[in-house]
Amino acid sequence: MDDQDVGKDQSVGLVTPQTAVFDETLALKSGATLPGFSLAFETYGALNAARSNAVLVCHALSGNHHVAGFYDAHHRKETLGWWDNLVGPGKPLDTRRFFVVGVNNLGGCHGSTGPMSIHPETKRPYGADFPLVTVEDWVAAQARLADYLGIDAWAAVIGGSLGGMQALQWTLEYPQRVRHGMVIASTPRLSAQNIAFNEVARQAILSDPDFHGGHYYECDPSAKQPVKPRNGLRLARMVGHITYLSDDQLAEKFGRRMRHGAHRFNYEVEFEIESYLRHQGDKFAETFDANTYLLATKALDYFDPAFDYAGDLRAALARARADFFVASFTTDWRFVPEKSREIVYALLHNGLNVSYAEIDCDAGHDSFLLATPHYHATLAAYLRGITL
């Protein structure tokens, strides 16, 4: 196709989410089972006749299936997909060539079966009774979606952060079903510091009086605003958000700038960074579910493919057959480049094809969501090299 086919904005345009319903029991890693489940997903581009051009995009902690395009032409910016800068006609993950699938993970709060869903037996929302799910469980559920879509093998599975963990897990769980694993800003396991931040986030939610042991959905349906642990979720997001950004970037963006120019000696917003964090927290508390946030942070904490191999990541990755693209960001202090290099060395040990980019970008962990030229050029080059 020539470039005239590409709209000026290179957008996949207006998109509509779909739902796949699975009437089968899913056994989870915890030992619990789900009697059936639904997955919300979106697709962009067209599956080719050989069914060889499908790419799965896995989301991170707060993401979902809405990867690209928009829901409302009058509110494009507000309804834009979370990785729209990557996916579209003429973009690095080019929808003229690839059939791209975004999925909301199990336990999510944007359409897939999760704590907000109705328990088929009790006829009440699962709430805190929704079982804890792991990255392995997410990948197993995504494999059902691949079956549903008639995709035997993904051309690539790509994800950043927690999404990168899923991409890696795919290559281990289904070595024959993924040709390229693209693991970005990720890690083979969380550090004690990472877990510590997650625990602070969880405690913020769990200690909120509006949490009601996770069964807050059923509280006072007559209330003007549904009951939810807003403050807890808001605090969780605020502390999380700090770890996504770099010190330099915060210094540049906010520094010590103040709202009023002088100290007011109270606890209202004074520094711009406070205003920014509160805004991020408020926004998130309205659109996200606290139970989903809790279980997703646990999925992060549990992820450790080397756990069953006495901590030997090289042995853990021996099952993989895919080619790999691994990328990290110089200012990411949440999942430092060293963690990505560890994945690279384990892949080298196993004689697998791997390319690794260490991208210079000042935006910390969230760099993986930006369209930094070197980053996107490298991604585009790698994706162009995938044979269909």
Binding site: Y345, L348, H349, N353, S355, H374, A377, T378, R384
Partner: protein, 208 residues
Amino acid sequence: MSSALTRMRGRFDFAHIARWIAPGERVLDLGCGDGTLLRLLADTRQIRGYGVELDPENVAACIQNGVNVLQFNLERGLFGFEDRSFDHVIMSLSLQTVRHTVPILREMLRVGREVVVSFPNFAYKPHREAIAAGHMPVSRHLPYQWFDSPNVRFFTIADFERLCADERIEIIERMSFAEGRLVTRDPNLNAEVALYRIRDREPGSGNP
């Protein structure tokens, strides 16, 4: 590792390097530029190759060329690469840009069964003449002015061979060139580039 130098490094030595590589080998190319050599070796020798390159544009170019590339800084050594995990470790026309010369040589000898290294010979006759005339040499293989050169180590064929003797590094084979042609007579004077196959005289003992 200088981006400019690795991007424009000479290609005439690639054919000679390829002759030393057996089919199906595992090859590590340090400062691999745009991946041309690894592409050549993959096409002609079916090797499993990896390049190490710091320059972002070169990294993208390698990927474009279908070559495995790792964006590592060589000044940090080859930490993470396992002992004898490659049949050949290659460093083509880049040794003079690395500050920690002996540590990187040691690392290459640790990781590779054999090492292939090439560098510009500072004692090449026209270079000596430039010095004698009072100026730092500028030539095809030393194309930089003294103030913008990425080269941080200036050495000669004689210097390198003395270092090998001191470090108990075995020189298996040497080829030297000027104007793209093989030089056999007094290479330290007549060659502008030298290409070596070396290995550790006492494998396993060398890693400091």
